[in-house]
Symmetry: C2
Subunit: 281 residues, 2 copies
């Protein structure tokens, strides 16, 4: 199968790598507005050749859109305009807005809205890694809109990546994504900023920062070009969760002010419950 | 050298393990009010025998206090009462209150206030790991109060652990610790609680939570018995940083409400600066 990969960054190239290794993709045609990414992806062997959007789609059996979500939103209608019987997946962290963009398109059924929940804080083709998707979850949304034979092909692709497939309504997906992914990034960006703004003596941060700090601010290395469009597209859900998170922190603040350390202890015991959930994974 | 280890948990046992391997400690006598921890520490070989506080101190050349900081605060004066020419270190994440507790004690100089900045989200002797301290920083505070020959011995101990030694004023230490360690834990506990309270459908969290979520809530597994006393002893600094953190999140909230995504982009670019600091490590 020939795959047209639009966006040759960390996610797209990691996907191409595994799909080629599994012989699911016989050839990967890269489409990227950034010639440096495209050249790098070709030189690293993830992509076989570059092409324009039109030519890439024309030559391929399936299209993978692996760009930031604002670019997915603007490209998706064009891509559906250009396909004949091919099918299309994306990798965006938001789903409702993307589906809405093409809900009345005659080729709507050819688009399987998907969110593989995998990634790192890095970006670009050099950051691609093997097995990035293995044993992770991919959420497929509103698949009642997809003809059976198209959905089956998309499912086969994610099976090659050894992902667990979950089906959700796009609106539900966006709420959950705000809770289990988007707020973690907001929190991490804020923590990094707070520390950077207060600790003017950077030497102290750099020397004292231990493993705990590293892990909570790791996500703060993530690219704004990827994340700001996610926060924009999922704004209402992110605002809702952010309000809750600020409320929880304000509750902690109030307990510290009142020196109510018994209540603080109980709150942390409750937070410890996250162990049970993370261990179950 | 015979070491009396008060508190046979993750930190104490990891330290005993390395000090024995390096032949710095010929024997480790464990003191713990929790007989299960002590038995486990002995059966795992980290500790050679158990003893009462009095007997343990009497038989040893040096004392390591590796308990939660509230226990350090209550034990430290007793320990200084019991020593003759031995020296004492602790591993607490706060320093000012502990030093204040014994500032007028005639054996004040025998106590080298230390904070090895290493640990994991786990606890107990089973959680001990080799090389936990290697290449990490230990902060020694107010060492102008320590006679040279005592300070040298404590330094030798931390050199055996292959730690980088940093000297700080205790008040300064507590401020920095609030920024680079304590707030990370507060943030992580709050994030876990927020998600647990909102996402009643635990199955969804457990399936959707990806690597990003894991790393930001990892610290939320940490023990309240260890952390609440830290927040209590470093309350004013923690409150100050927490206020700043809530302000940063409120600023993000305001940008989302105003849909000012350009300013959000710039804020995240600034947060990305943390890369430079973490990479320098």
């Amino acid at each position: 199968m020939v795959i047209c990969l639009i966006g040759t960054g960390l996610i797209g190239c990691s996907m191409a790598l595994t799909l080629k290794q599994a012989s699911f993709a016989s050839r990967v045609i890269g489409v990227d507005k950034n010639p440096m990414h495209l050249d790098k992806a070709i030189s690293l062997g993830y992509v076989d050749e570059g092409a324009s959007l039109e030519d890439g789609i024309k030559q391929s059996d399936a299209i993978v859109i692996a760009t930031p979500v604002n670019i997915i939103a603007s490209l998706l209608p064009n891509v559906l305009d250009l396909i004949e019987d091919q099918w299309v997946i994306d990798v965006g962290s938001t789903k409702s807005i993307l589906i809405d963009k093409v809900s009345h398109h005659e080729k709507r059924g050819h688009y399987v809205a998907s969110h593989p929940m995998a990634g790192t804080e890095f970006s670009g083709p050099e950051a691609a890694i093997p097995n990035l998707f293995q044993n992770k979850v991919v959420v497929l949304c509103n698949t009642m809109d997809n003809p059976k034979q198209i959905l089956e092909q998309a499912v086969r692709l994610f099976e090659q990546l050894e992902m667990e497939i979950l089906y959700q309504d796009a609106v539900e997906h966006d709420i959950h994504a705000a809770y289990v992914s988007h707020i973690s990034h907001i929190s991490s960006f804020a923590l990094a900023l707070t520390v950077l703004e207060k600790e003017k003596n950077e030497d102290e941060i750099f020397k004292l920062a231990s493993g705990g700090f590293d892990s909570t601010v790791r996500l703060a290395k993530s690219s704004p070009a990827m994340w700001v469009p996610i926060f924009e597209q999922n704004r209402d859900n992110v605002l809702d969760v952010l309000d809750e998170h600020i409320n929880t922190l304000a509750r902690f603040r109030s307990l510290l002010i009142k020196k109510d350390f018994d209540a603080f202890y109980k709150a942390i015991e409750k937070a410890n419950d996250i162990k049970r959930i993370l261990q179950a994974k």
